[in-house]
């Protein structure tokens, strides 16, 4: 079988498309977990945001308002996680599963309300895809980047911003300190729970953008359970990436490329079920200490400013 460069470019382009939602959610999870809040609710947040994005676009005709609505949905879930996990000292694992149940359960209800269907929404206008004439003429990069969703480029920008904030600013230092040694952070004058709130809210907003990418960037409608476990693949990417923004991105890229490869190899020698297992198997290996980093020390704990 002859493999042409075009086939490789289109495989990489498909891999990047698959990477975008996973990486956005994984970076969001990283922010939240680096601050010490366990974030297992990406699946539910992504799914409900994907739907509200489509609903808002359906009523307003503007995918940008759809994206905004998705982000607001994410912030709403972020607030729920913040109130329960930070103020009410809830068990964050249980809250995470609770949010996932709420997200998966509420979407068919809203679908029924708006479209009278439980399976899928009507088609809506999607976010623009960048089509630069000059870009398509650049060799290698052109065919790969041509036709990527605008949120793919937003993801790269958000990755850069997150990386700089995380590693190069005092805010990033505070964020990591709150996740590692909240007591010491408080002694140093950092308002631990405020930093955690911001991290959870931004984290959920990123998961929401990931959801909007699925429904407004790629498929242009909402399908029942369209996230199909991507929220947990993002959880996996965060673990494999060692709770660091760049690590999360690179792991997402690996999983995205594996996903694209899996679609190409369908019916081939290796059954695609086994290629789809890659993220999960890799995570089990990494969390068992084969490569990778340890989680933030204070993850899952609560901080009471009165106690110090």
């Amino acid at each position: 079988m002859q493999i042409t460069p075009e086939q490789i470019f289109s495989l990489i382009a498909a891999g990047l498309r698959a990477t975008t939602p996973i990486a956005l959610a994984a970076i969001g999870i990283t922010l939240s977990e680096a601050a010490g809040i366990i974030h297992l609710s990406a699946e539910g947040v992504m799914l409900s945001s994907a739907l509200t994005a489509v609903v808002a676009t359906h009523y307003t005709g503007s995918p940008w308002l759809g994206l905004l609505t998705a982000i607001l949905t994410g912030l709403l879930f972020g607030a729920l996680m913040g109130v329960t996990a930070i103020n009410l000292r809830a068990n964050q694992i249980i809250v995470g599963f609770g949010v996932n149940f709420i997200g998966t359960g509420i979407t068919p209800v809203l679908l029924e309300r708006v479209w009278g269907s439980r399976g899928r929404s009507g088609a809506v206008a999607g976010l623009p895809h960048l089509e630069w004439e000059w870009l398509t003429k650049v060799p290698v990069v052109g065919p790969i980047l041509d036709g990527q969703s605008v949120l793919f480029f937003a993801m790269l920008a958000l990755l850069a911003v997150t990386w700089v904030v995380f590693h190069r600013t005092s805010y990033g230092l505070r964020l990591r300190m709150v996740g590692e040694h909240p007591g010491a952070a408080a002694t140093a004058g950092i308002r631990v729970n405020r930093v955690r709130y911001v991290a959870v809210l931004v984290g959920c907003a990123l998961c929401a953008i990931a959801g909007a990418e699925l429904s407004l960037g790629q498929i242009l409608l909402f399908g029942r359970n369209m996230t199909a476990g991507r929220g947990f693949v993002a959880v996996a990417a965060n673990v494999v990436g060692g709770w660091r923004p760049m690590g999360s991105f690179l792991a997402s890229l690996l999983f995205g490329l594996a996903d694209a490869l899996q679609l190409r190899l369908q019916g081939g020698i290796i059954p695609n079920h086994f290629i789809q297992m890659i993220p999960y198997l890799l995570t089990v290996l990494v969390v068992s200490g084969i490569g990778g980093r340890r989680p933030p020390l204070a993850i899952g704990t609560h901080f009471d400013p009165e106690e110090k």
Binding site: L40, G44, L80, T84, L88, R89, A90, N91, Q92, I93, I94, V95, F97, G98, V99, N100, F101, I102, G103, T104, G105, I106, T107, P108, V109, L110, E112, R113, G116, R118, G229, F232, V235, A236, V239, P271, H273, F274, Q276, M277, Y280, L281, T283, V284, V287, S288, G289, R294, P295, A298, G300, T301, H302
Partner: protein, 368 residues
């Protein structure tokens, strides 16, 4: 942490225990979730009253509905136990879904074997299904003991791995040539569980599940093994100092949990589905998390919680048929129950303590 130190009389008075605060706490969470869900669905523009009355009709409406509720509660009871027992040892088993699928698959394979008399075939099917779940359940316990891998992460990932593995098996090697669906062959009649009510899916699986709950209750409360499980769950370091081997307890608790999930899968295959059909489980393993927490990780509490959730899931099907509200609404209720149960300010159930040596999140047990 208040209340943890209080010595409670450990008498076997289950009624007094059931009426103790955990019961009221669970009830409060359930009612709050029902109320919050009504608010949500009203905001979405549906008639919550109409929905709930349809649900009640589905639960109490006909003579068949009771057996439907009991049939639906059976797998929930078992997956609830699958989460509850490891929880008592301080482990959060969110892998019940994967353990259930593996148990179901093995039950389907064993069930297909011809020429075995029913008195042997049924116990063999259920037993090997449980065994598959038990062995698979021990994997995350081993990874935690040996490599300090957090069981929540490993069990989530193992769920997906098993979903894909069983998906592969029923699409290719175990797929009969003349079958359209991704499923195995129908199991032999000798492996099918006797049905209790004509036309209903209620089988003797319910009795098996309830018996398991009572046995596990006695095991936890009356046996050395149970004492060790609870001791490790309360404080793994202190238990270790007293000579209890944590690794052994973790493996044991997860083996019990996995066996219960595997049995849930096996009873579904041999009693309801009669084969392994890809995607047959409507998230029974995940619902088990809600069941276990609602039952305060107490096997007898789990019996009650499983029937409450089984009832609303059954009622939801009637709601789905007779109103415009989809049955998925019940998943929202389930999620809200978890959110309300998760807050110790309300319930004091789950107060996290960090044990630095393991990085685990032992869950304090206030029920015993």
């Amino acid at each position: 942490m208040a209340g943890a130190e209080e010595a409670r009389p450990n008498a076997g008075n289950w009624l007094r225990r059931a009426l103790n605060s955990p019961f009221l706490g669970s009830l409060a969470s359930f009612l709050l979730a029902i109320g919050a869900a009504a608010l949500l669905i009203s905001l979405a523009g549906f008639d919550a009253g109409e929905g709930y009355s349809a649900m009640l009709r589905g639960i109490f409406g006909s003579r068949m509905s009771l057996s439907d509720v009991l049939a639906r509660s059976t797998p929930l009871l078992l997956t609830g136990l699958a989460v509850a027992v490891p929880l008592r040892a301080g482990l959060f088993n969110v892998g019940a879904e994967g353990q259930l699928l593996l148990g179901a698959l093995l039950a389907a394979v064993v069930g297909m074997l011809p020429g075995i008399p029913a008195w042997l075939h049924i116990p063999l099917t259920l037993g090997l299904g449980s065994l598959a779940g038990a062995l698979f359940g021990m994997v995350p316990a081993y990874l935690k003991a040996r490599f300090r891998a957090h069981e929540v992460i490993t069990t989530i990932m193992l769920n997906y791995i098993v979903t894909l593995l069983t998906g592969y098996l029923v699409n290719y090697p175990l797929h009969p040539p003349d079958e359209m669906l991704p499923a195995t062959e129908i199991i032999a009649a000798s492996a099918q569980l006797p049905r209790l009510v004509r036309g209903s899916q209620l089988t003797i699986g319910l009795f098996v599940a309830i018996a398991c709950a009572f046995v596990l209750h006695l095991l936890l409360q009356r046996s050395v093994m149970g004492y060790e499980i609870r001791a490790v769950g309360l404080n793994a370091e202190a238990a270790e100092a007293k000579g209890i081997r944590r690794t052994r307890v973790w493996l044991l608790a997860m083996a019990i949990g996995g066996a219960m999930s595997g049995l849930a899968g096996a009873t579904e295959v041999s009693g309801v589905q009669l084969r392994f059909l890809e995607g047959f489980s409507p998230g029974y393993g995940f619902a088990g998390i809600a069941v276990a927490l609602m039952g305060y990780a107490n096997p007898l509490g789990v019996i009650l919680a499983a029937h409450v959730l089984g009832a609303i899931r059954t009622g939801a099907l009637t709601m789905d048929r007779t109103t415009s509200i989809p049955a998925d609404f019940v998943t929202v209720i389930q999620g809200l129950i978890l959110v309300f149960l998760s807050t110790p300010g309300l319930l004091r159930l789950l107060i996290e303590k960090r044990s630095p040596a393991t990085g685990s999140l032992p869950i304090e047990d206030l029920t015993s």
